[in-house]
Amino acid sequence: MKPVLLVDDSPTILMSMSVLLSKAGYPNEQAPNAEAALEKVRGGLAPGLVITDYHMPGMHGVELIQELRKLPPTRFTPMLVLTTESQQDKRDAARKAGATGWLVKPVEADKLLQVLKQVLPN
């Protein structure tokens, strides 16, 4: 199974999501910002799913999605934005950038796992 790439500047989110995904049987990789995530993908990581925060120091989540869509390993990878933000214009921008979905923090664990089942190929 391809790993889920988690991108968030919050150690709390990275840790909680990592444990949550591991418990549900999803291997995962973590990046503390968009630049580190890009570096991982350029370094050969081919994630099965990307879950990124929106507000991060440096490049924000939608910009990251735009960049990831240019890279062969993540051209068709499902990408979710997990953020405190819920403004419609930002959602629209994410959709245009190629995001698969938008999740507003905090997301309940069981709902998050349901979403993962929906967006991840069997």
Binding site: I13, K23, S86, G101, P106, V107, K111, V115
Partner: protein, 426 residues
């Protein structure tokens, strides 16, 4: 909530002191209201109260800058210092061309504003400390949860192993029990058949012994007849005189032989009778039957006890199964709660971003006050940021609808309802 209410009161009190103060107060109020939204999760109350105090300080400074006899601008008269501040409030950029000379108290006000620098540093540090503490606490909680989760998984594995072992032992016990019962029952059946066969056999032995009695009786009769015959032979030998002397000796020997024969028959009869008596009394007697019956009853009792053990095994297995099902349900419930907490811990990140927005707001406020101070001491190149700009900057840092709603409520604006879904797949 209590903090938010007290800050709202502080903001209202400031409104009579001039528009700049009102706006500064509004910025503080907005910041305070946003901080108040952290509720009990973060102990930011002290920082919020301190933030609100900035507005009050400004009001005091403005009051100090008034000359005796000045009246409030809202009453129509606009003293120099007041006009100065009001221009700031209206976002007018300072312009050396129409600048009014600063009042005599201006350097004092500027100095007082300068004294606020440690306050801002302190507030900034306190808020950052809150972020750090909540972050550390959240990580600590996650680690504890992970440990707990590991313990639950280990406990569940141990329980399952124990359950399997218990079931296996019970199954083995039952199996052994059934085997023992079967062995005993087979033994009982075989023993019963053996006893019946023995009885038949012994009956035949006794019959044969009885036939031996007849035989010895015949031998005894032959011996008796031989004895009589030897007596007759002796008499006839006497009659024959010297010619019958040899015959007399033979007759005497025949007589002695018949007597020995009768004695042997007598001994045989005695031995047969004794053996028959032993067989009848020991092997075929009522006491023997009673003993065998008692033995059979004891074996039946053992079998009943083994049946009871088998039933106990089954009851233990059933009880164990029920207990395991309950434990599995408990484990599942705890695991579900742990999983749920992993999700809910995202709250810390939500709060962190809200506090960081406030840290930024405080930095902006400090910058504004610095500008005020510089303008008061006559720095003509200073661009003064108005309160509204400060609020707009704060607003631009919002990262959630909670902040925007709190903002609207604090400023008495219409709150825009957020119909956007929490989860939306494109």
């Amino acid at each position: 909530m209590i903090v938010g209410q007290s800050l709202a009161g502080a903001g209202s009190a400031k409104r009579g002191s001039g528009r700049a103060t009102v706006l500064a107060g509004a910025a503080g109020l907005a910041a305070a209201a946003a901080l108040a939204s952290l509720m009990s999760a973060v102990d930011a109350g002290t920082a919020v109260v301190a933030l609100a105090a900035i507005g009050a300080t400004l009001a005091t400074q403005v009051a100090l800058s008034r000359r005796p006899g000045d009246v409030d601008s809202e009453a129509g008269s606009a003293p120099m210092a007041h006009v100065r501040i009001e221009a700031t409030a209206d976002c007018a950029i300072s312009d050396a061309g129409d600048r009014t000379p600063a009042p005599a108290a201006a350097p004092l006000i500027a100095a007082r504003i300068e004294e606020l620098v440690p306050f801002f540093a302190l507030t900034d540090a306190q808020l950052r400390s809150i972020v750090e503490q909540t972050g550390d606490a959240a990580i600590g909680i996650l680690e504890q949860l992970r440990n707990l989760d590991g313990q639950i998984v280990a406990m569940k594995a141990k329980s399952a192993a124990s359950h399997d072992r218990g079931n296996r032992i019970s199954a083995e016990g039952l199996s052994t029990d059934h085997k023992v019962v079967a062995l005993i029952r087979n033994y009982m059946r075989a023993r019963s058949e053996e006893i019946a066969a023995e009885r038949v056999h012994l009956g035949r032995v006794i019959e044969q012994m009885n036939s031996l009695k007849n035989l010895t009786h015949s031998l005894d009769q032959i011996g008796s007849a031989t004895n009589i015959l030897s007596l007759n032979a002796t008499i006839e030998a006497e009659r024959a005189g010297a010619l019958g002397a040899g015959f007399k000796v033979v007759a005497s020997e025949i007589r002695a032989l018949s007597q020995k024969s009768r004695a042997a028959v007598q001994e045989a009869n005695t031995a047969i009778a004794a053996t028959q008596s032993v067989i009848e009394s020991t092997l075929l007697g009522a006491a023997t039957d009673q003993r065998r019956k008692a033995e059979a009853e004891q074996i039946e009792q053992v079998l009943s006890a083994l049946d009871a053990v088998s039933q106990s095994y089954s009851a233990i297995v059933a009880e164990h199964d029920t207990l395991m099902a309950e434990m599995d349900a408990e484990h599942a419930a705890i695991a579900c709660s742990v999983l749920d907490t992993y999700g809910r811990i995202q709250f810390q990140d939500v709060v962190r971003q809200q506090v960081e927005a406030l840290i930024d707001a405080l930095t902006s406020l400090r910058s504004v006050l610095d500008s005020f101070a510089q303008s008061l001491v006559g720095d003509e190149r200073v661009d003064l940021t108005c309160g509204q700009a400060l609020i707009e900057r704060l607003q631009s840092r919002y990262v959630s609808n909670v902040q925007r709603t709190t903002h609207a409520v604090a400023l008495g604006e219409a709150s825009r309802s957020d119909d956007a879904k929490a989860i939306e797949l494109f």
